[in-house]
Structures are given as C-alpha cells and as structure tokens.
C-alpha cells in the first residue's frame, strides 16, 4: 500500500535508525546521540530523551528515497525532496527511508538542539506519516510555522511468526503547537540527487498532470499569534 512518501509502510521487521536523533522502534525509545570526547577520540553517547521528547519538525523539507544503514560504515543516502520522483534504488541493501531536520526543545535538546533524524523502519515511517498528515491539515492555518511534535504513545506491533517473531513499538506523534522556523535552517544535502534524478532532469522527470496554479485566493493581514517556546 502506497503512502504519502510514495512507498509502503506496512509492518515488517524493523531496521535501524541513524544519527543524530535515534528512534529505536525495537525498544520504543528515543535517543539523542551526543558526540563525546574520550581517551580514544570522539564517540557517540546515547542520551535517552523518550519521556521529554519534544521537537520542532522541519516537515517542509522531508527527503525521501533510499537509505542503507550498513553496520560499521557511514550510511548511504539516495534521497530527494519529498514530492519529487524517488531515485533508482542504489543497491539491494538500500531500503525506503526518509530524513528530516528538527530542533529539540530546551528540556531535551542539550547544547546542540538542531538535529537530523533518518529512518527506514516501518514503525518510524508510519508514525511520521500519520503526524505528517496532521501537519498537512494544519499547515494552511499556520502560515510560516512548523509543527512542534511529541510522542503520545508507543504501540507494540508483532511481526513474523514462530522463532522469527519480533515486536516493534510504533510511535504515535502529536502536534502540540506550531512555531516559527527560527534558526532551524534547512541544510540541503540532496542537491546532486535532485539535479540528476529529480524532476529537474528531463530524462528522469515525472511531469505533473497539470501545470501548477499561481494563486487567485485573496488574503488579508493575519491576526497576531501567541508566543511559543521555540521563539
């Protein structure tokens, strides 16, 4: 079943998550991965923020496509901006995944609140898909703002059978507020992919059914907004 990301999020055995925020569906936990200096150099130290997790999510700039979280090496990404044609699958190891940036709230952000999250697990994707739909529904009423999301519950979902049975915890996200982007500046990493594989390339293009409208909706000055803790 296709979803808003262009591929299925039906439950299957979970895969990995990656820096800089790690959402571990197998444990139902969220970790902030901090770089810490040790005797042998820097290493990643997971700091659990499951209970305090609250973040400004950059859903405007979700990247989608293929990710390979190969153990012991840097992950491989073949991503394009959501809404454009997904590139060719680089290898059999690559799985459908997404990536986006977020800014953690003060209570869970540490000294580097602006982070990135990427994942391929169906639990992660389905959770993000659900909250993304909420974002789409509320976007027009919150111009210029991004959603502030939290996790309201984790739902255990079993997959497989017999000895192959495993349980993943599907996060349910909620939008608790909307806030201006502030210093959460999107850092594009997929320009090359966009250039070569997105609709910018005639060979790889997937033209829309009709040309985009420009806008004929007349608008007036907005009302004043309440403050938020993301400034």
């Amino acid at each position: 079943m296709s979803n808003v990301f262009g591929f299925s999020t039906e439950p299957t055995p979970a895969s990995d998550f990656l820096p800089i925020i790690k959402i571990d569906a197998r444990a139902g936990k969220i970790f902030r991965m901090d770089r810490v200096a040790g005797a042998d150099g820097f290493f990643n130290e997971p700091v659990e923020i499951t209970q305090s997790f609250k973040a400004l999510a950059d859903f405007e700039n979700i990247e989608t496509g293929w990710i390979d979280f190969a153990a012991g090496s840097a992950p491989s990404f073949a991503l394009v901006p959501m809404g454009t044609r997904i590139p060719e699958r680089p290898s059999e190891r690559h799985k459908n995944g997404i990536r986006f940036m977020l800014k953690l709230a003060k209570e869970c952000g540490g000294d580097k609140p602006i982070r990135e999250v990427a994942g391929t697990s169906k639990a992660f994707l389905s959770g993000i898909e659900a909250v993304y739909k909420l974002y789409q529904a509320g976007k027009a009423a919150n111009p210029g703002k991004l959603p502030v999301i939290t996790v309201t519950k984790w739902t255990p979902v079993k997959s497989g059978s017999g000895a192959q049975t495993s349980t993943n915890y599907h996060p349910t996200f909620a939008i608790v507020a909307w806030a201006p982007r502030g210093d959460l500046a999107f850092v594009p990493k997929t320009a090359a992919a966009t250039t070569t594989q997105s609709s910018s390339s005639p060979a790889g293009s997937s033209p829309p059914a009709s040309p985009p409208s420009t806008g004929s909706t007349q608008v007036k000055a907005p009302m004043a907004d309440a403050d938020s803790d993301f400034g």
Binding site: G83, R181, T195, P212, T217, V219, A221, P222
Partner: protein
C-alpha cells in the same frame, strides 16, 4: 559574455522573448526601462517608507514616491510619463492601507541567493517586504489592470524569495484605483520552474563563446511589446528583419 548570475527577471525574459534576452544579456544592449517599471520602483519606495515608519504621513510617502519617479524618469523619453505619474498617489495610499495592518516589516529589499548544485551561476533577487516572525513575504506589483490571479512570471519570481515551502508568500497588486493581495500557491513547483529555465539558459549559452552567434539562432517577434519603440530599430540593425 558577462553573465555571472541569473535573476528571476532575466529568466522570465528568456522564457518570454529569447531574442530580447540575447540582445540584453548576451550582447549587453540593455533597453531603456519604461514608465511602468519606474513607477513600480517609485511606489515601492513610498510604501516602504510608510511601513517602516508608521508615523509617516501619506503625503510624505507619496512625496517620496513621486520624487523617486521623477528622478528615475528624468531622462526618459517615454511619452507615458505623466499618465503613470498620476497613478502614484492612489497606489501608495491603497498599498499602505493594505499592508500597514501587517505591522512594520523586518526587512525590505532583502537580497536572496540560491545556488543549486549543478547550476553554474546562482539565481539572485531582492524581495520587497518580509515579516520574519510571521514567515511572510510580500511582493508589491503595480499595474494599470488588476489581474484575476498571480501572473506566472511573478509566481516564479516570488517563489525564489520564499526560500522555504511553508513561507507564506503573497503578491499585492496595486492599480491606481484597486488593490488586491493574492497568496502564492505551489511555491516549490514555481521555484523548480525557475531552476529549469536557468538550466535551459546555461545550456543555451554553452552553444558558443561568440555573442554574435546567438543572432543566428534567434529572431525577434516584432509584434510583441518587447520590440516597441527604439527596440524596433535595434532589431533591424541586429537581425535585419
């Protein structure tokens, strides 16, 4: 050729009239700016004053716009000079009524640059008014006739300024008697169109290092307003048609 960056206006010009693009951007023979464009610049100056200084009177803002217009048009032979000048007070007045409720903008005439990977030159431009706290960009357009929707060229232009897709981008059209603000839709698609045109421009320019070559592969549409006035003579001199 001395092309080091793209702008929405140059890209829209390439789409609208490749021959005029060749004349202005490749041969570097810029054609005179007419009264409509200068009036737009002048009205923006008056409106900017009124938005940044809420205590500024309408008369002061109109005066600023008029002086600006007179300065820009001082050496212009455009016969429409007086007609367009007469529209300035009404445009400034309506624009202030329309835009002052947004409060003082956080920025005016802000520089925006976008350099997608794979594009040789960046696309740059200047937005009219930004309210950063509200995530709002508004571009002010002056016209003799009120459009029923945002013009495509304007959509491409303002899509560059709305650097994030959730930025609320709007265009305010002012005529001497009417004013309307439209919300820009499909920002990403219009910015993508801008990028496509920029790629086409670079592909086009890569055909030759010789500016004269481009006269051989283009031809002006002499019925188009682009070739009115002195441009008609220029067309004949360069294309012999």
């Amino acid at each position: 050729m001395n092309i080091e960056r793209h702008s929405p206006s140059s890209l829209n010009l390439f789409a609208a009239s490749p021959a005029m693009f060749v004349l202005e951007r490749v041969l570097n023979l810029k054609q005179p700016v007419g009264a409509p464009a200068h009036r737009g610049t002048a009205v923006k100056a008056g409106v900017a004053q009124g938005l940044l200084a809420p205590e500024a009177t309408l008369d002061a803002c109109v005066e600023t716009a008029t002086v600006k217009y007179d300065t820009l048009m001082a050496l212009s032979p455009d016969q429409r000079k007086e007609k367009y000048r007469a529209g300035i007070p009404g445009m400034v007045s309506q624009a202030l009524d329309e835009l002052r409720p947004y409060g003082a903008p956080s920025g005016t005439q802000g520089f925006v640059t976008w350099h997608p990977e794979g594009l040789r030159h960046p696309i740059v431009g200047y937005y009219d008014f930004m309210w950063a706290d509200s995530g709002l960009i508004i571009d002010l357009k002056t016209s003799e006739k009120m459009p029923s929707e945002i013009k495509i060229a304007h959509a491409r232009q303002v899509s560059l300024y709305a650097m994030s897709d959730n930025m609320d981008a709007r265009l305010t059209y002012a005529t001497p008697k009417k004013i309307t603000t439209f919300r820009l839709e499909n920002v990403r698609e219009h910015r993508e169109a801008l990028l496509r045109i920029a790629r086409n421009v670079e592909e086009f320019l890569s055909l030759s290092e010789d500016p004269q070559y481009f006269l051989k592969i283009t031809a002006p549409d002499l019925d188009s307003f682009y070739w009115d006035g002195p441009a008609r003579q220029v067309a004949y001199e360069h294309w012999r048609i």
